[in-house]
């Protein structure tokens, strides 16, 4: 089915609106993964102690790993409730393109679990003594990396749907796939810290994001249809 661009966004917004409303109703779910991010990042300065040089050096890696784990925490929720109550079945039978409805759910996951990390990261970065320009780069890298994490993660969430101890399996399945994102996102911040140009890293991240926007919802919807059979 070919759709004009306006109705394309309209279809995506159907599931996004619903999931955002649900996130507002179930605030605790959202806050748990945010506080997890804050606490994990804050533990490092506390554990390592007042060693500014070391803290500065590990900051990009710590923040990215924490963002990655925090995103992972929200992933099992992406489809589980809808799968259990039969809503996913209804989505699959909808006359609207299933891939776009799934994209809407991924978008909602990013808005709830990813975007707040982008906003929080500079505040947490201060604990590591990062300067203003590095904090800006950190935000920029996270802004490209977090949607990528949601998109890649959605495939894992769909594949482990209805599987016993799916959460642990999801982590094993998805964390290796997160490695390129981790390397390029923290790499961008690291080269910025030593005063070099980070455009190369950001371009690679953006290229991965462009690919993921196109392929991840498709792969996820195929995996969901298999789970529903």
């Amino acid at each position: 089915m070919s759709l004009p661009q306006s109705s394309l966004m309209l279809v995506v917004s159907v599931t996004t609106k619903r999931d955002l409303l649900l996130a507002i109703r179930r605030k605790s779910d959202v806050l748990v993964s945010l506080f997890f991010f804050i606490i994990v990042v804050s533990l490092f300065p506390l554990g390592i102690g007042p060693e500014p040089l070391l803290l500065k050096k590990i900051a990009p890696g710590v923040l990215m790993v924490a963002a990655l784990l925090s995103t992972l925490l929200g992933l099992p929720r992406m489809f589980a409730a809808d799968y259990a109550d039969g809503t996913l079945e209804q989505l699959a039978l909808s006359p609207l393109p299933f891939g776009l409805l799934v994209s809407g759910k991924i978008l909602a996951h990013w808005l709830v679990c990813g975007l707040p990390l982008v906003v929080l990261a500079p505040v947490l970065g201060l604990q590591f003594g990062l300067d203003g320009e590095t904090l800006m780069m950190l935000m920029l890298a996270l802004l490209i990396a977090t949607p990528l994490l949601s998109l890649i993660g959605s495939i894992g969430a769909a594949l482990t749907l209805g599987v016993r101890s799916g959460g642990a399996l999801l982590a094993l399945l998805i964390l290796p796939l997160y490695v390129p994102t981790l390397i390029f996102a923290s790499g961008a911040v690291e080269v910025q810290m030593v005063g070099m140009n980070a455009n190369g890293y950001l371009s690679l991240l953006a290229a991965m994001l462009a690919l993921a926007v196109f392929f991840a919802p498709w792969a996820t919807s195929v995996a969901l249809k298999i789970a529903l059979e």
């Binding site: 619903r18 109550d85 809503t87 209804q90 909808s94 006359p95």
Partner: protein, 199 residues
């Protein structure tokens, strides 16, 4: 409109049914009967395209269902209530419509919920409702979404006598409009002229 030819289904090693042939036209109602585990739900899920067809063929308006636009004419209500406990009855019905590509106005939504006997409970989170009331929220879709093909799996479950009669009336009206209905139920249906398939 709906033609099924030589359909069979296996689950694991077990053959659930084989050589099912059905032809349904406008105004036809098919009551699928069978003991627990005889494959009624599997049959309905295969017919709507949720489960893959193993052998045989299913055609809607003379097109194989995989390529047909059946989804835009279909309401499938399964075992599960397909309502979210944290959303209100109104929101659940509204999103169900949105998933169907409809933007339903408040009067239409209120009207449907009122007809299903949920007046005064529109704005309660569905988790506060009883099992029967949840089913009523689900069944409200029959009033808000236009569809030619109704596939209702155990639709009478958890409904009280009044709601059961209302649903029977809705199905009769649907058939009179030239719609098609496929349903499973362990209760005898209070309708005349319906086709029966025993699995």
């Amino acid at each position: 409109m709906l033609h099924v030819k030589n359909l069979s289904c296996t689950r694991g090693e077990r053959l659930l049914f084989s050589d099912i042939t059905i032809a349904l036209g406008a105004g036809d109602c098919l009551h699928v009967r069978g003991i627990n585990g005889s494959g009624k739900t599997s049959l309905l899920r295969t017919l709507v395209g949720l489960s893959p067809v193993e052998t045989g063929e299913i055609r809607w308006r003379d097109v194989n269902i995989a390529d047909s636009a059946m989804n835009s004419e279909l309401i499938y209500l399964g075992h599960d209530a397909a309502v979210n406990g944290d959303l209100t009855a109104l929101e659940n019905l509204q999103f169900a419509g949105a998933q169907f590509g409809l933007s339903l106005s408040q009067p239409i939504l209120h009207d449907a919920l009122q007809r299903m006997g949920l007046k005064g409970r529109e704005n309660l989170p569905v988790r506060a409702l009883s099992a029967g009331q949840k089913r009523r929220v689900l069944l409200s879709r029959l009033l808000t979404q236009p569809a030619n093909l109704w596939v209702l799996d155990e639709a009478f479950n958890a409904l009280d006598i009044a709601a059961g009669e209302l649903l029977t009336q809705l199905i009769k009206d649907h058939l009179a409009r030239g719609g098609i209905a496929l349903l499973t139920s362990h209760l005898p249906l209070k309708m005349v002229d319906i086709l029966v398939l025993d699995l």
